[in-house]
Symmetry: C2
Subunit: 384 residues, 2 copies
């Protein structure tokens, strides 16, 4: 049976029907009063979602483009930056910094382990001359399913006083609590195909007043990714370049749904689904890649030892039309990743775990009682 | 009566229903075999549309992002570049070059007039030391409705031998003949919401082998706009960053429609509609902003003297739900622009001209015989 695809990957994530239908309308002109009204509503709701009064700017880019904009707008060649790197995306921000001749000081942890906030504290405290201009952190590391302790690392950045905190919240925004104003996060980047419940094609960058001050002194070259024209135009409910009109109209519908659900419910749902997924994996004898306490509410990575990760993905796709993500780079073939991000219901978790059980039986995986995974997931879901 | 909007602007352009419905499907994973198949088909059809065997790369950007990528990938700080500037977009490429510390030599013409190829010839011939690394030309200047003589300018670039020709074909690709391989165009940038008949959100850059050679020596910093990873991934029918899956599935449908129509028919249709529109404006006593022989097949700019351009736009919108574009920058209020680009039929031209006649009567414009505009347009359309 075809055409009953179920995406359980960390993006693109499933898109609600009302968003798809909103996107299927004939485009309208982006310089019209009608579009400006939509921009005004979307911008206000983005601020709500970001828990901030800062600017939240929309760019036609992927999450990587949003993060690059979030880095290059506030720094100059040779600036020292601490970059957390414990997965593919942390490594990517190191590459971006190197491409722009920043003086990169990577703070690393093994893939699958969270960053150690103490290492940031030590480097920041030792920097009495305030050479460190920014600390760049991936909040939810999509490649490993690890969440880094942004709150603690940010506290050390605040004690430093000078450095900006620049956050990759691509798979945490709309899934985990990222209280920008409460924590004083300077730059937060994210992408549409994640917690936003819409297809890929839009990137978001939230910018604090302190970051705008740094912008004035920043000397890296930029044009399309220069955030100032986006800010100037956003103030007039418009954009410097032609925006992806249909996607923004889809976003309008998605944000209305998110507001109806409420931030606390959204975060609780993601946490509950992470817990249900993790408990199910334990019950099935499948080792979790991220340790307890460091699991991302967006995605759970599993490192099976008795079955082949790629075979699990293959059977899940062929037999049940469920798409799981594989491992990236050196983790290819070693892990599979279950996305529970965005428009995912508790029912979807039970569905995925049940299908995974059937897959394990097909692959001859031993050491679990049939039904144990669903039972473990159901227990978490029922009591939450 | 609401919800019967008709876009006659140079982007977003109207989108066929089958493209909208294709876009409204649930997204699929971008690392799937199914998506790779779509990428393979789309890439092949993009090469057909671009009349080239060169790479045609897709980026999640607006047309400006595509052009910036087309400039910064092939140049180094201090490189001398000739930039044609006779409208808002030519001026924008000057700004991009300046943002990246290139040594910009603008070749200007008044807004509304075409660039003079002789000025390029003189500068290129005088450059015996081959300091000029690139010539950047806007083919169809969207802000004024002028088409520049790319073929002749390119011939002078070829005689120079060293400089790359970098073309803004944002409103000419898919509307006018841009035979990349025949003419030897090195870099050609364009955007989805124009001749492609899909909504905004995708940019395209075609790159010649000569440009890839220049890439290897180019030193401007870049990451998201770095074209090499796009090329490397395109060879495997994938993308370096998450692509706008739904838009690409819409593009697949649009390119199938374009292939069914055929390149010659598409170009003839745009030319016919330009001629019909221009003849209608003459018959209505409305001065054309671009001189005969330099009109863009994508857009006709009109500079009325007896009625207010903004009032024309306002009545056309309020009474007939037809959106025309206004003037940009110093042309604001002085011109209106009729887009006839992409999914526009001959019927649409008659509709727009008929509605414009009624608008002129409402605004008290004198000096034309009612029906003369439609008659002039019909004459062109009937005999073509």
């Amino acid at each position: 049976m075809d055409n009953k695809l179920m995406l359980m990957i960390p993006g693109p994530t499933p898109v609600p029907e009302q968003v798809l239908l909103a996107m299927a309308k004939h485009p309208i002109g982006h310089r019209s009063g009608e579009f400006s009204k939509i921009m005004a509503e979307v911008t206000e709701n983005l601020k709500w979602l970001h828990q901030t009064q800062n600017d939240v700017l929309m760019l036609t880019v992927s999450g990587t483009g949003a993060m690059e904009a979030g880095i290059i707008n506030f720094l100059s060649p040779g600036d020292r930056v601490l970059v957390g790197s414990n997965g593919k995306f942390g490594e990517r921000w190191v590459e971006v910094c190197e491409a722009y001749s920043l003086n990169v000081d990577p703070v690393t942890a093994e893939w699958g382990k969270p960053l150690d906030p103490e290492q940031f504290r030590e480097k920041l405290e030792a920097d009495t001359e305030k050479q460190i201009k920014a600390v760049i952190i991936t909040h939810s590391e999509t490649s490993t399913g690890v969440i880094n302790d942004l709150e603690t690392i940010n506290r050390h950045v605040k004690a430093h006083g000078e450095a900006l905190i620049i956050v990759d919240a691509v798979t945490s925004l709309g899934a985990a609590n990222v209280p920008i104003d409460d924590w004083g996060l300077d730059v937060v980047g994210s992408g549409s195909q994640k917690g936003y419940m819409i297809p890929p094609g839009l990137g978001f960058v939230a910018v604090s007043p302190k970051a705008w001050e740094a912008y004035e002194k920043a000397k890296l070259p930029k044009y399309y990714l220069d955030l100032k024209p986006y800010r100037k135009n956003a103030a007039k409910n418009t954009t410097p370049f032609t925006p992806p009109v249909n996607l923004i109209i889809g976003l309008q519908a998605a944000l209305q749904m998110m507001k109806a659900e409420g931030l606390e419910s959204i975060f609780a749902r993601h946490l509950r689904q992470m817990n249900a997924t993790r408990e199910a994996m334990k019950a099935l004898g499948l080792p979790l890649f991220a340790p307890d306490g460091a699991g991302s509410p967006a995605i759970t990575a599993v490192a099976p030892t008795t079955v082949d990760a790629e075979q699990v993905r293959s059977v899940m796709k062929k037999r049940f039309d469920i798409v799981l993500a594989g491992g990236q780079d050196h983790l290819k073939g070693k892990i599979f990743r279950i996305g529970h991000l965005g428009f995912v219901s508790d029912r979807d978790i039970l569905t995925a775990v049940g299908s995974l059980e059937a897959t394990l039986i097909e692959l001859g995986h031993q050491g679990f009682t049939s039904g144990a995974g669903v039972a473990a997931a159901a227990k978490v879901i029922a009591k939450s």
